[in-house]
Amino acid sequence: MHHSVELTDVHVRLGHVAVLSGINIEARPCELISVVGANGAGKTTLLKVVNGILKPSQGRITVLGYNLSQYKNLNFLRRDIGVVPQRSNSIRFPIRVEEAVLMGRYGKIGLMRRPRKEDWDKAFEIMEAVGIRQFCKKLVHELSGGEQQKVALARALAQEPLILLLDEPTTYLDSSAQSEIMETIHTLHHQRELTTLLVSHDSHLVEQYSDKIYLLREGKSCLVK
């Protein structure tokens, strides 16, 4: 069985700054891996490398058996990778919750095609599972931080991904909302047999949910659990 995600001696430079210098991480299918580290440790960069947005200066990245350096266009692979960014850039964009979740299907629907009934059904099924079905007609920016995070999670899951990447999913949330979102992630990770890679600065919060934990410090990774 190949690893769902495997990073071997990965180095990343942004300009003259070495952000990651010798990262070794492996996530097997259905594992929930957490990468913890302080702010500025390179956690978001790490996720961008896994998603093929940033290219490493050195090292090998394999995702679902594909060596990323061999592909110029990774859109085919991104359709199998759900991403929950730290926070959406669009604070006041007029979009209803149901539309934002349906967006997760856009890559699979194909260019110039309208969403079909099964795409809507999938979006509503995910909203139900994540617990935001009752907000489906509300605008995303009208929701609380925790609810918005659930919308982002639902959108990523609507892709029906094999891999889920989560960038600080609990930032900006109060402690009860943090636990609630982590519980939701954990449950859906098992139900949908996902390989989940989560980055967080809060090692205590993610510990009980993680199969493995890597610590990211000074651009290097080490397995701590």
Binding site: R78, P85, F93, G104, G107, K108, R114, L139, Q159
Partner: protein, 275 residues
Amino acid sequence: MSWTQILNFPFMQHALIAILFAGIAFPMIGVFILSLNLIPLRFAMMHVALLGGAIGLFLKVDPLLLGLLFCILSSMALGPVSEKMRLGVGILSGYFMTLTLALAFILIYKADIHVLEAFNILWGNILSLTILDLIIVGLISLMILIMVFLFFKEIQAILYDREIALAVGLPEKLFYYLIIFMLGLTIAVSMRLIGALLIDAFVLLPAMAATFISRSLKQTFFFSSLFGLLSGMAGLYLSFVFDIPTSSTIILVASLIIAGCFLFRKGVSRREKVR
């Protein structure tokens, strides 16, 4: 005075046709500008056109043609160059804007070009449109409408969040460059046809008004087109009746619509708070 009387004049017929096209389609470009924060690009295009015009006058080539060519080429280049340099299009537009203006002034001074002649490229007049002008406005309007209709979901994802558009597996860069190209093309062509001042009336103001009251991107496009059409037609009519400049009247009407939409939103949110 009725519309029938006004439309006895051929120049008013042309203006009305231009408003029907531009009023519906150009505000959609305004929605792109506001959502992607591309306002500097609009100014950059004006200055690029000025440089093209100045070079055209220097080389004794049609300044309008060269201005348009410069705008089209720079709108094609801006997206990829900003990506390569890891700079936002807004920042790069600021660079282009100042650089091209400086170059244009040097050329105007050194080549002894009449300043007003060079600036002519920026001032169009909606009341002096030819059939060819109308065809160009019509074609660009159609291109915008077709793009929005065919690629609505891709555009929605990019305007919402480019990172998410990329993450769900859309060719995000391709569509972003297409949006920038259409924006440059619209501004470049319409600058000469309807004037730099009127571009804002058609492109930005209706889109601004629509963002105050819309609850979805479809509504934003719909209301921006509706307001573009309304302000254009009302402005044209009133300017004729009261004998005042058309561009300014259209802008006044559009500004009133913005104020109305803002008050409407205030009222709605106050009612929601009371509930």
